[in-house]
Symmetry: C2
Subunit: 299 residues, 2 copies
Amino acid sequence: MNKRIGVVGIGRMGANIARRLRDVGYEVTALYDVAADRVAELAGELGSKGYSKLADVTANSDVIITVVTDDSAMRTIFATGGDSLLSGARGKIFVNCATVTPAVHVEVAERAAAAGARTVETLMASSIPQARDGKLYLICGNDRSAFDEIKPILEKMSVSLKFVGGPGKAAQVKALINMLMNINTAGLAEALGLGDALGLDLTTLREVFSQTGANSRVLETDGEDMQKRDHEAYFSAEHAAKDSGIALQLANDEGLDLPLAAATKAQYDELVKRGLGQLDKSGISELTFKSRQPARQPA
Amino acid sequence: MNKRIGVVGIGRMGANIARRLRDVGYEVTALYDVAADRVAELAGELGSKGYSKLADVTANSDVIITVVTDDSAMRTIFATGGDSLLSGARGKIFVNCATVTPAVHVEVAERAAAAGARTVETLMASSIPQARDGKLYLICGNDRSAFDEIKPILEKMSVSLKFVGGPGKAAQVKALINMLMNINTAGLAEALGLGDALGLDLTTLREVFSQTGANSRVLETDGEDMQKRDHEAYFSAEHAAKDSGIALQLANDEGLDLPLAAATKAQYDELVKRGLGQLDKSGISELTFKSRQPARQPA
């Protein structure tokens, strides 16, 4: 029999995962979010049920997918006292998708184990449309037996499924992906910004980059957006700052000095400081194009 | 009738261009390099003639390809007095391939014009094997008529030929390519270094990077080399430091602050300072892997 699925955290990623699993025939039995209106709306759309207590989500699901914002939200939904997903969690499987500090994934997995539940770290290296279409790139870890058991579900969510190791490892890999993606993005914004200042044709420049050692995935996904200032958020600058911060903390714990990662985080922090944290990560070009600086804009 | 070709600066790029053009039927009539033994050897190999005076190269060629090391070498071969390629240069075409400061390309083009010669900036966005196989990616600029006239030659050298604009523009584009390539390389070295410190499997990590927003051309060309410490030079750390420096100078002239480009140059400068400037650009990973730090190696 199909497992009943709960989803906790129904922002754009979580909601699209729920939609996808419903589309392919799973019963999405329980939804939860801090935003009650969001819950009501999606529950109506999916013929699902929203709950205002986390324990009710656990009670009404076999597999609980969590997609929350940050370390603090992860610790809250997996609290050791009060309302928590851990209440009555024996035998349940938690699928934890949030890009948060690896140590928090480890801590939550330990708490879940103490409650008799199993946990699969399931980090998502793709964005909103891929969630909707079941084409996520998933990097999994922690509990291998639980991973094998829910593989049919994960396969419906993804085009690629990789199990990379024990507790925290998938989250570490994810932090590294985003750290490097952010560096490449910040670097691209510098190159296009300088090209713009030099009066070069940016369409030609991007084409040349794409044929040379300067090519990158973010050139494809963000290059034109930087040129055209199209910063509708798929992955926000705020998230970029957070994820680069997670990686830098890992580096710091290891006594490693990573100057480019640090410079990238400083740029995204600056963007947030300017009130532009809701822009897409491509919005970092707002810092590197001379013509886009506030002091130079008409009053 | 085929134009007679001279080549000035026969390091690995220049020598391979000469070999290629000889292979496809051009007469390589004149060679010059500061290293006399290199000249004698290649002249023997190609049935060509080496000269110890620059003016003799000009006298014995119609098209002179120059591939020298830096700004100073460019100014020396195009000196306005003494032995110079400009002596008797009326009607000749110079094909200037060195990645040097764009302003030096402009200055040399002006000097050549004053001597009655024409100049094509011909920046090469590829490496040694591509030079040998006639598969360079060439970014050209400056004199359009001269470009059109020598197109048959350039086509034998390249898979892609692009004319990007007036004096200095091709050199600016090249500086930007290398600036961005170096940033992506330095960033990759940080990500792999941190992955190594965390005990992650680097082969898996590279594969995951390749499937996600962290992907880049340098991941393909340098990722495995960083992991295996295979730093045989195709594009040396010293060159990387020089080219990032050229781009930073352009940025500085434009009043642009580019923190990632600056951090990257600092890393390559550090590598040079440690006596590792002859390593390939992938050698930057020697700075970001904990296990590779001098202080931690056995005495």
